[in-house]
């Protein structure tokens, strides 16, 4: 395992470029350290609106409204947030939404905090049971390809998709030196 890097990685910028290319307009998020660089890019963008949420399920409902109003969006959250979304994910199937979420993983790959493990271990299963296809990126060099595939199938084929960004990619959170 490796600890979380102190310097900026390039893959969050690659994700931002993909979202720009797919004309994503609304970016609801609950902050996560793994998404911090991407969130900064979104908040500084003139074409995307970053929307801070109080809980992740708000983002699912927001994206349903955005789609009805003609805009694409993406939900940024941490693996624990997936559990907060379960009932609201019915909207994804009911409306046949072009749903895309990018999930930073906790509770795996060198995790220090046991409280993250139950939800982190079930994140993929819960998404799949809720009708969302799951892709995963574990290495920096594959992020662009995986997120591009996810965005493409979500927006072009209305196939609800989650891309899990592994803790192996992000680096485990360091609590003690």
């Amino acid at each position: 395992m490796h600890a979380r890097a102190e310097t900026a990685a390039s893959w969050p910028d690659e994700i931002f470029s993909i979202l720009q290319r797919f004309e994503v307009r609304q970016v609801p998020y609950v902050p996560d350290a793994g998404h911090s660089q991407l969130i900064e890019r979104v908040l500084g963008s003139s074409t995307m609106r970053g929307i801070a949420l109080t809980t992740e399920e708000e983002g699912v409902a927001l994206l349903a409204g955005a789609w009805a109003g003609g805009q694409r969006g993406v939900l940024l959250m941490q693996s624990s947030g997936v559990g907060n979304c379960i009932n609201m994910l019915s909207l994804v199937q009911i409306f046949r939404l072009p749903f895309l979420t990018l999930v930073t993983m906790r509770g795996e790959w060198g995790e220090f905090n046991p409280w993250q493990v139950p939800m982190g271990s079930n994140t993929q299963g819960i998404l799949e049971l809720s009708g969302v296809k799951v892709l995963r990126a574990s290495h920096p060099e594959e992020v662009r390809e995986v997120v591009e595939a996810g965005a493409s199938q979500a927006y072009n084929a209305c196939t609800p998709t989650a891309v899990l960004l592994s803790q192996r990619l992000i680096g485990a959170k360091v609590f003690t030196k």
Binding site: T55, G65, A66, W67, A68, G69, G70, S90, R96
Partner: protein, 196 residues
């Protein structure tokens, strides 16, 4: 509060949607969706049959996507309580074209009339105000409903919030379409968006 002279929910919603022009109306799970259907089916009615707690956020997504159009969320007290955090999210975003009105019967009417928090202790208008929705008002007369209704078309002065205390009578259900894809695609079509 006094139970006398409570408002008729169907009269409230009929007044709100009387001169809607291009407005999009979102109804929360439960009786508010039947009230919107009772006021007349419309291709910009966003009926909810599930996703409890999501009505205000659906309204926010629509309002941000269509800033020139009035968006009005009409929901119940139970549905609003389940999505109470969304008022803080609306307060942060300040969408000028979004209005939210709660039809507050202080009960979960769909499930047998169990008491909700608004009858005893929770003040939704106070919550909305404290979340940063400056125009937040309690409504108890039809004149106040008319006044609120006349502001809905103004897409420069929102967000606004109102809670109307309504009669708890369970009225005959007026059933809208339950097909979510049809409901959403009909709204998209009315806004000029073609299917994928």
């Amino acid at each position: 509060m006094s139970k006398a002279n409570l408002l008729d929910r169907r009269a409230v919603v009929a007044e709100l949607l009387k001169d809607r022009n291009g407005a999009i109306a979102v109804g929360g799970l439960g009786a508010s969706t039947y009230d919107i259907a009772a006021a007349g089916d419309h291709d910009r009615n966003f009926y909810l049959w599930g996703g409890m707690g999501g009505a205000v956020m659906i309204g926010l997504g629509l309002a941000l996507a269509q800033p020139e159009l009035p968006v009005v969320v009409i929901t119940g007290d139970g549905e609003m309580l389940m999505g109470i955090g969304s008022l803080a999210t609306v307060g942060l975003q300040q969408p000028k074209n979004l209005s939210v009105i709660v039809l507050d019967n202080e009960a979960y009417g769909e499930t047998g009339g169990q008491a909700s928090h608004t009858g005893a202790s929770a003040d939704l208008v106070g919550v909305a105000k404290a979340c940063g929705i400056g125009d937040s008002r309690a409504i108890s007369t039809m004149a106040e409903v008319e006044d609120f209704s006349s502001t809905l078309q103004d897409v420069t002065a929102g967000p606004r919030f109102a809670s109307a205390k309504i009669d708890g009578a369970n009225l005959e259900r007026v059933l809208s379409s339950r097909d979510g894809t049809y409901i959403v695609n009909r709204i998209r079509g009315s806004l000029g968006h073609s299917p994928i």
